[in-house]
Amino acid sequence: MIRPPKTLFTVSCPPHIHCGRTFNGLMLETILALMPAALLAVVTYGFPALRVMALSCSVAVLVEAACWKVMGRPQEVDNFNALLLGLIFSFLLPATAPWWLVTVGSAITIVLGKAIFGGLGGSPLNAALLSWASLHLSWPESMDIELNMLGSSFADPLAQLKHFGVEAVANIPLTDLLLGKQVAGLGVSHILALLVGGLYLLLRGRIRWHMPVSFLTGVLATATLFFLVEPGMHPSPLFHLATGTVIFGAFFLITDPSSSPVGRIPMLAFGFLAGALVMVVRVWGTHPDGVAFAILLANLLTPMLEKLRPKPFGLNISGDNHA
């Protein structure tokens, strides 16, 4: 005989408490952390930057909503993930990017970078970078930062380095670079603003230190190596930290949960590897920046890096190791 209980309580598996960190919160705080850089982008580049960011975000949200509809899946566009992906993607574009480029890129970010892999947590590649790379291969001129920003009063230090050698950048003060007096993707040149956002995420526990720190260490260590081995051929290692997409990459690109490994050792190895690859591309590659290709390449190695995991508790002793 089963009597229906008078009061219905919640019955569930443990744990019964939760840290309070939610996915929506994570997305919103990441967007918040990008705001200082987004504001300074508008200050520096004016209305065109705002236009690119707004267009990219809107297209991302609409395309994602359409994707779930077509795929017959529950609508989850309200979790701010598409908004964030759109914003991150727009940060990589030149402020003068034409509307069709932004639209196509933002759509690729969502469709090829996320939806095609089944949504959240499925993509093995960083969505924004995947889209950036596709555009870069299809329309190199339109994506060329230096070419598109000829009207700007600043220069792209990495392009200068590539084309004119180390003398061309020897006299750029580090403070200029930090304050965003350089040309790069519209949101990535304000190093200090990005640092503020990144530190905010770290302090709030939204991202963990392993990947940013090991990535920056990787860049710094490899740059120092080049600097010491071929004296006079390379700018100072700090120049490399403060240019291109390095800082943005350290806090907002390699930390993408879906395409990065889990576990302490894999995360450290992943960050360091990506950092070292940045320098390899910058010194030996044809592309001046290198961060995007370095991270994409490291993404591909993620499954291998994840094998660097410790033995499960107790299994090494009993000889009962199934792994």
């Binding site: 309580f9 569930s12 408490i17 939610t22």
Partner: protein, 391 residues
């Protein structure tokens, strides 16, 4: 409700309270086979159900009364209503030792499967979870009982060394035993981690570990010669010495805690406890605590996809991959869950606590374990005899 800091000793105030005198008690039969039927009258201390796994300790009626119902709320409980007086005769245990004592203890309701003969005996004096104050109280105020239990346990286990592990425990606690101080932070009090902290090894052979509550229950049985029908649970910030089977309602009323619709009523701690269906359910010997977590205090668990943030991996004391295990279990790929180490999970609940996607991680893990156990049985039926560790 604030974010948990996982601190284990919350500082106990006051002495242990006597449990409420309930007219009706409800015994959990999940691991027992009843030996009485509805309508039977029993004395306090009468055997009412035998443990399904021999040695796990039988179940006795805590009061004289009539068996009103078996099944009830769920298939697994026996309700006894107080009626009449009388109790079984106490046994004289002062001369019994060793194997004979082990058999008698099991008959008195003590789980003796936790008392194999071993070289080292660890006394786990750590609170297993936040909000459980039982250990603190027993060590502070009821040390003679615990010491009596230890003497009995030693005579069964015959260890060559005894190590007491806990927070702020002193070496003089039980004569000459070694002491190991541990940081009062969850999950340090869980058995596998205590063993590791004490010995430096993971799942080493030749070990027995007993909690302070287990020793107290043994000591109580030795002292009174009566079956184990009283246990200690933390309700709110007080400990209660209550009959097993005492309904949750009586315990909560006593501490002025109310549980309303959609709250969670938890038997045990917030990370590993089980939720009760009804306040008529009773506590068992190892319940440890009764807590109420109000509805809406935490973001609810949802059927969200794993975003691969890796938070669960960073906190897992078993060093396994709860993200991948839950993903594979979602798609019934239990073999792959095993490759990701599901067997090593000590069910601490930390992965679920930290999951950004608020996924029911421990539920997936338990599902995978259960399915794997069933698969192992069909593949290798020889092991069947040893298989049911708990029922």
């Amino acid at each position: 409700m604030p974010k948990s800091d996982f601190i284990l000793n919350i500082g106990l105030t006051g002495s242990m309270l006597d449990g409420p005198r309930s007219e009706q008690i409800s015994l959990d039969l999940a691991c027992f086979t009843p030996v009485v039927k509805p309508g039977d009258t029993v004395l306090a201390g009468d055997l009412v159900a035998k443990a399904k796994v021999s040695g796990q300790g039988d179940l006795h009626s805590p009061l004289a009364g009539e068996v009103v119902e078996i099944s009830g709320l769920s298939e697994f409980s026996m309700i006894i209503r107080a009626k009449g007086e009388g109790s079984v005769e106490p046994r004289d245990l002062s001369q019994t030792t060793g194997a004979e004592l082990k058999t008698i203890l099991a008959e008195l309701g003590i789980d003796t499967t936790r008392m194999p003969s071993a070289k080292t005996l660890i006394i786990n004096a750590m609170p297993p979870e936040p909000g459980i104050l039982v250990q603190e109280q027993l060590l502070r105020d009821y040390r003679p009982f615990v010491a009596r239990g230890l003497t009995a346990a030693k005579s069964v286990i015959t260890p060559s060394q005894v190590i007491l592990a806990g927070v702020g425990v002193d070496a003089s606690a039980f004569g000459s035993c070694a002491v190991r101080l541990l940081a009062p932070v969850y999950p340090n009090g869980l058995d596998p981690l205590v063993i590791k902290a004490v010995t430096g090894e993971e799942n080493p052979p030749d070990f027995a570990i007993l909690s302070v509550l287990e020793l107290f229950l043994i000591g109580q049985a030795m002292e009174t010669g009566l079956p184990c029908t009283q246990t200690v649970v933390t309700v709110g910030d007080k400990n209660v010495h209550a009959m097993i089977g005492t309904p949750l309602k009586a315990l909560l009323d006593m501490s002025n805690i109310t549980a309303t619709e959609r709250d969670r009523v938890i038997i045990g701690g917030p990370l590993r406890g089980e939720t009760a269906i009804s306040l008529e359910a009773g506590i068992s010997k190892d319940s440890l605590a009764v807590q109420v977590i109000p509805h809406g205090a935490f973001p609810p668990v949802e059927d969200n996809p794993c975003l691969n943030c890796g938070e669960c991996v960073l906190v897992c004391p078993s060093r396994i991959l709860p993200n991948m295990i839950s993903r594979t279990a979602e798609f019934r790929l239990y073999d792959r869950a095993r490759q990701y180490g599901v067997d090593a999970c000590m069910e601490c609940g930390l992965c679920g606590y930290h999951c950004t996607g608020r996924r029911p991680l421990l539920q997936y893990i338990r599902l995978a374990k259960k399915e794997l156990a069933a698969m192992d049985l069909t593949e290798n039926p020889v092991e069947k005899a040893e298989a049911p560790k708990c029922c």
